[in-house]
Symmetry: C2
Subunit: 455 residues, 2 copies
Amino acid sequence: MVTIEKYIEKNKDRFLDELFGLIRIPSISSETAHKDDMYRAAEYWKKTLLDAGADRAEVMETKGHPVTYGEKIIDPEKPTVLVYAHMDVMPVDPLELWNTEPFEPVIKDGKIWARGSDDDKGQGFMHAKAFEYMVKTNSLPCNVKFMIEGEEEIGSPSLADFCIKNKEMLKSDVILISDTTMIASDTPSITSGLRGLAYWQVELTGPNRDLHSGLYGGAVANPINILCRLIEKCTDENNTVAIPGFYNNVPEIPAKEKELLAKRPFSKEQYKQAIGVEKLFGEMGYSTLERTGYRPSFDVCGIWGGFTGDGPKTVLPSKAYAKLSCRLVPGQDHNHISNLMEWYLKSIAPDAVKIKVDYLHGGQAYNCPIDHPAYIAAEKALTDVFGKKPFPVRSGGSIPIVAAFEEILEVKSILMGFGLESDAIHSPNENFPLSNFFRGIETLPRFYKYFSEIV
Amino acid sequence: MVTIEKYIEKNKDRFLDELFGLIRIPSISSETAHKDDMYRAAEYWKKTLLDAGADRAEVMETKGHPVTYGEKIIDPEKPTVLVYAHMDVMPVDPLELWNTEPFEPVIKDGKIWARGSDDDKGQGFMHAKAFEYMVKTNSLPCNVKFMIEGEEEIGSPSLADFCIKNKEMLKSDVILISDTTMIASDTPSITSGLRGLAYWQVELTGPNRDLHSGLYGGAVANPINILCRLIEKCTDENNTVAIPGFYNNVPEIPAKEKELLAKRPFSKEQYKQAIGVEKLFGEMGYSTLERTGYRPSFDVCGIWGGFTGDGPKTVLPSKAYAKLSCRLVPGQDHNHISNLMEWYLKSIAPDAVKIKVDYLHGGQAYNCPIDHPAYIAAEKALTDVFGKKPFPVRSGGSIPIVAAFEEILEVKSILMGFGLESDAIHSPNENFPLSNFFRGIETLPRFYKYFSEIV
């Protein structure tokens, strides 16, 4: 039988060509101008799955962007793996910081440079190609289903509903996802937990129009001054979130996990260098890996108001806006946190301004036990290819739908990510190393084999 | 002799046509795209002065935008009034809030609607027409000089230098300025003081690129979070500026002036209604008029950073910016305050971010004694036209060059403003009541007459 390594060697140029076709579709789910591109991406995925050997594949409507579903059922008695990936990508601004066109993939320095090269077109595409290999070589050991959605980057607002409506069709023994990172290209890891998310937009209104800051300055509430005050009061001098009740149900980190964390290879110096900062900054009393893996956070994602052009225009503005986000951990319910934030901001805002708090989206945190059959299968597959046992990692990122899968489809997800922290996902100059792309394809058929043996 | 009232009646349409020609030139001094418009405005003023009867008028270069100078010397032994006005205007954004085109004046509801209709094309033009009347009717009692600058809205960066170089040419007994407001259309006032100004742009840099707020959130300093913290720490819970040393040399308000202030007609309800706020907000222990007239202030004029488009993009941004301003009072030196702010912000910024503080411009506060001959002449002229003695008013606004005039030209300025607070200067839908425009023209020849008699 042709090994996966040889199959890749023979087909690598075609694999990349096909991936690049997908990347070239600017499927930015948050921008309405790209609505048609979401359908183009969905059709592209449908063709990809059919060409790879799916029995059926179709573009299915949701109340938002479409989902591409595909499957190959070899034997209803055998176990079923449901692959989840997303075809949508983040916006690309600020465009001036990109070295290449975001939607025209370029290979340079052994990496693919493009929006979506990693998140999640590159990582998602590995599954299509591993599936193709198993079909073409008659080595598929179980049934496979694919669910590729188009709204992950906006919080998957339609997918829970889609899962409820298609629960029988989506029945599986595990959900397999590659949308996370590994520790380093030579240090594999499995994401055993994800943070949840809560995201708000806040609008403050002071006077009914922009005022002369000389004539009125000091006598009228300036909505930017007040907004800064509200944001400042969301954290305290220890960089702890200062909203009363925010940490209710947040467990302390178990001593055993603290030990495991301390063993993980982690260079603070390299971490700082990679992002160009002289000092790290966060909640007092916790390490960097604890802060991102086990502790919730509060970040302003955007802020704007008043005069932002060149020069010294003096104005006391009418409006100020901010986009606020919290990453949450198991124990915190995003709906509860949503209400808590709104209550808190309104309770501390002076009545000299009007305040509007909109909850834009949220999702629950997730945790996968390391003795789950899928975890063990993933561990073995990664050990085979990388020659090292992978570490379990609690990621700071959020895939809100993963917690929803567990609730609706009653099945655990296994998060085998092949991205690197240096891939700059969500940022200008997103990239994905070719070696990670190909090693991902090498690893996946092994996962199917071990999982089918264990289950 | 034809009275000024009759002269206006006969020529009012022409006066407005000529003013509208000036308004139609989009002379926004802060935007480099309008550089040529500054020359067009300067030439327009030159023609206006020559047509009105100036002996000479010319467009003079400075290191920035040009100044139009004009004069009529009837007798070197007689007193000289130097009229100062500015031909430049503020930017017009946000454009979508204007009901009419900013640079196409419209008369509606007895007002002229346009950028510059009040500040300072409308008010400046009154002086040209009052001068024209006195020349045409041979009633000019003294020498007149005009200095019309093009950089007032960006802090007059070239005018001090221009005054130093042309000190002899600009020699006068008083500088006459209409660039302020009166209390109400039936309640005249004279601006006896102006606040100074200090204006900074702050740039904070966290990571060297925008980061994924999930993977990094909680472990890396977010420059927006930090910027809000720095801004919050510029004031305290009493809305007092919290920068150590900021109030050094700020005098308490004399008991006598407090009494005069309390007598001034001022309706808190109308003030709030005019700007659409339910509550006023400012330094504890001071009234609204005290806050804007006698106390310094701290306002954020603009803020921006991170994602500001539609939807919930999660990002931990690399940069955050703010434009900060303080209005200052006599006793505070703007250069000292500039240094103080920079020192303070840098001293409280954590070293997990890089901070850059640029001083964009500043000017000193000003005070004019109410027993000065020009004040007395203005008081009489206004009493003649309005039938009421004007109140002395400390304005919250700044005309930084007025303090410089006193220092360089060694002469006091008299601030006879005919604007109203409802004129929305610096805002969308700037306007100027026709009645104020014409009563201004009526008042000014009387000022010349009384001033020449007293001096």
